[in-house]
Amino acid sequence: MNLSVTLGRMTLKNPVVLASGTCGYGREIAPYLDLNTLGAITVKGLSLFPWEGNPPPRLFEVRAGLLNSIGLENKGVERFLQEDLPFLEALDTRVFVNIWGKTVEEYVAVARKLDAIERIDALELNVSCPNVEKGGASFLLDPEALRELVGRVREATGKFLIVKLGPKLQDWEVTVRILEEEGAEALSVTNSFPAMVVDVERMDFVFAMKSAGLSGPAIKPLALKMVYDLVGMTELPIIGMGGIMTAEDALEFLLVGARAVGVGTANLVAPSSAADILEGIKAYLLRKDMENIEDLIGRVR
């Protein structure tokens, strides 16, 4: 059975990828999951300097979903390189690193530092962050800022470059053309959905920032539609994600044309989820008498 997939010049031994922010820096989840069985791991979003994140509460569970307002807490790129890279060096899987910044310069600086590290296979840009220099609007919602950001990071690194899209896009066609022109090599679709909860007893928002990101089974059909639409819009390979809990969920994304799948919130529910999903995909291929996973991809259009 051939499970390997290609995303442009990137080959993964199978399509199952751990999504950013749900598997830490790798070491934390390793006791419960053999990372070497997976296609790739995406290290949680790194910034140039350590970032302490949002005050609690940071999580709230809703029906079949989870809202989070972690606020991008991370130890910063330097400490990551010192403390976590040695563990990742020894892995036999692709290592993707998600990066973010408050300014274009910060993104570029992080990308440069990681560009020098041979073990890192790809950078995933979180472009949903507020652009501090432009009054805090998300890079993703400002086409010119997005163009500058992706273009500048592209100049700074020769690594495989993935851009992670959020569900709030100004104009999909315009956004996708910018990403193609500026040298993005793959898209991660999608990030969590902006959402809200109100505490009726306290008559106030649950989260200090008012809104938070919704993930989990509740968003899966929405994410699937996004992936389907974007597959029809661009030749860039897409890593589909959003509420994938089971092999069947993952297969839906592959069938509509995602070339890999990200497992996120499921890792929190059970850290072995990604391995179970991979086993389920294999069982499906066997049952369907299919030798090659590529034969699945994009079969349902």
């Binding site: 934390e28 006791p31 419960y32 989870l66 072995s272």
Partner: protein, 254 residues
Amino acid sequence: MSFARICRKERFGERFVCFELEEGDIASQARPGQFVMVRPGFRVFDPLLPRPFAVLSANDDRFSLLFEVVGKGTELLSYLEVGDVVEVLGPLGRGFSLDAPFGILLAGGRGLVPLVFLAREFEKRGIPFSFFLGVRKRKDLALLRLLEDLPRVLWSCEEAVSGGFCGTVLDLVGKCLERALWQGARIYACGPEGMLRELVTVFPGKEEDIEVALEARMGCGFGVCLGCAIPRRGGGYWHVCSDGPVFRLSEVVL
């Protein structure tokens, strides 16, 4: 995660449920103050996340948990019966220190769970201790069954009970523990946040030597989601699941 069969179920009062579970790895490794993540074994995705529970006891191939029904997740778990299976992950987190010269154990409500485990461990090690339990409602006194064979147990209830001390566990401690009695002891506490916040007034100058087991809404339980942040003394955050759940009172801002 592994699957564990419920081999005994017991109710305490109206809101507390105790499960004894068959799972050898957790039973042999768990230490007082550690916790496990639990979800029903039939893989529902609503409720979505597993729930964190402190370990009540562990020996050989079985361990037990006791939880209070407080919401949808705990309610669903409370419907499970002997023979049903749950999915468990653990033991997780940093437990209590076990080298105290003398222990004072202070429990508020369901906060008694990790402290009962600690008391049993102290008995094994020959470390002397006193156990104080405070409950809100008369019916919660059913929890005293867990402490029946322990020496030096004192309790209080916020509802009037004949022959019982009326007030919180810290009111009780204030009445019967003089400074000379707690000065050389290590204090271990678990209970509502208001109770833990008050400890510093009841035991002035003792913050370094008070260990508190904290409760938090958690995502993963093993340090990847960073959802269970609490303010750290001196700035930044701790994560209850991986840095705790046991902290020295001097390390946290409650």
